[in-house]
Amino acid sequence: MPTFEKTREAPAAGVGTATIFLSAVVLIPLGTVLWKGTAQGPAAFWDAITAPDACAALRLTVAASVVVALVNLVMGTLIAWVLVRDPFPGRGLIDLLIDLPFALPTIVAGLVLLALYGTDSPVGITLAYTRAGVVVALLFVTLPFVVRTVQPVLLELDGEMEQAAASLGAGSWTIFRRIILPNLLPAMLAGTALAFTRSMAEFGSTVLISGNVPFKTQVAAVHVFGQIESDNTAAAAAVSTTLLMVSLLVLVTIDLVHRWGARRG
């Protein structure tokens, strides 16, 4: 009887705790942004996000984030693959280094990239104050996402499936396409979605290297900062809400693609 009660209560307590935590830490703050962004009515909201500079900043941010997400999808998977499947000297060290972009304050990342790719670039590549510089900064800070979501799945992947496929005459491309990829895809998409949403909101690493010229290299987060600094919090919240909605849309789309893929088998 006590055992029965426990199994009945535990899920409820778990769900309750999770809900309270999520609400306090995530849902209520996000809701407040939404509320502030739309408090002055749809017309003011529309004005704020269609202001030419806001529009340009949003376009740049979404485009850069898409590029960053796609590059991450391919390169992140490749790096995870190399780390798991291709033993090479120094692999353990590289494996440790992957997480460092997360540990570095992003403003420091921006500073380092500026020193490396700025006007006095020691490597002879000048990317600072260009849109390419924005993409490079975003790639730096989002690198771990796909690697770290794909890596454990790849580690757990049952080698016997591949051996079975090979014994049935499948070539290595067929094995990758029919056996490995379907198993990895959920993790790849989850990592890509994380990289995309992170790019959408990134401030610290881009604020130095982009040069912040409105219409040219100013990303949405810096635009939002400018609106806050100009005491225009409603516009700041409106642009932030747009960022949230685009991210949500992408997350939902990726989820649908994944479900559709899973149904097809």
Binding site: T119, L208, V213, F225, G226
Partner: protein, 337 residues
Amino acid sequence: MGLVVLGRTMKAGAALATVVAGAVACGGSGDSGGRVRLSLVAYSTPQAAYEAIIKAYQKTPDGEKVTFTRSFGASGEQSRAVASGLKADIVGFSLEPDMTRLVDAGLVDAAWNSGPQRGMITNSVVVLVTRKGNPESIKTWDDLLKPGVQVITPNPFTSGGAQWNILAGYGAKATRGADKAAGTAYLHALFKNVPVQDSSARKSLQTFAGGKGDVLLSYENEAIFAGQNDQPIDYTVPDSTILIENPVAVTRRSEHPAEARAFLKFLRGRKAQEIFVKNGYRPVVDGVPGAAAFPKPAGLFTIADLGGWPKVKKELFDPKGGVMADVEKGVGVSVEG
């Protein structure tokens, strides 16, 4: 059973957190033991000066019982933090609108600027910072418009302090605000030569130090600070430029108003003003040693000459319809077109 495990885990977590926090703990200020603790919230540029002044103050009879918590950050952010409830006894900002925000919020007395210094604590001027030896021989506002000259100045919408730079050029060309069309035209032309608009003055300095640009619009105190740190720069005080005035005040919510006011008085005294001068600032009282060394440009003007902050904010820095919003749009068109 589950709860016991949870409790243990939490205890272990708490212990771990304590250990980690202990490992990274810094040298904190010890317990004040019956002393008065004042909270100073200010913008970050004069941090070194404030540290030195606090040390000097604590050697005086008034100051020996006073300890300070200090918070330094971007002027606008500090002002918004105090408006949102950050505890502060004394607040110092880089420009008056950040103080006006607190007056509007009822946190600073409306009479904060009634004294002989009108609430100000330090002055400076906007200067043209160039590479060592001034290779492009840039000395005037017109020189900034030469083709190919790259001017570095922060974005005035993300950096309140950058508004001083804009106002200096605008006021010099608009004959102190009389000829608005000339001032506006100048800003349009100027921003065609601005390849980078950093989010703050310090970041602009960083950009310039990193080799980008021919001229940096900055404050005299920042240029002096950079020179003191052996940066290879020179600077010119243009014939016509704006007097930068930095406000300071005691808040109405202060729990120790008498002590806070005493410190404010010390800030305007000879000793503190001398420290400010050593850090590159112009003093707000007469007779401070070293003050004579600051050049007095013939065409020096103030924000009051331009009609005061509320007027200037509306005309130039309104994100919708202000002159600078237009200028940025113009930059965008030339970039995209």
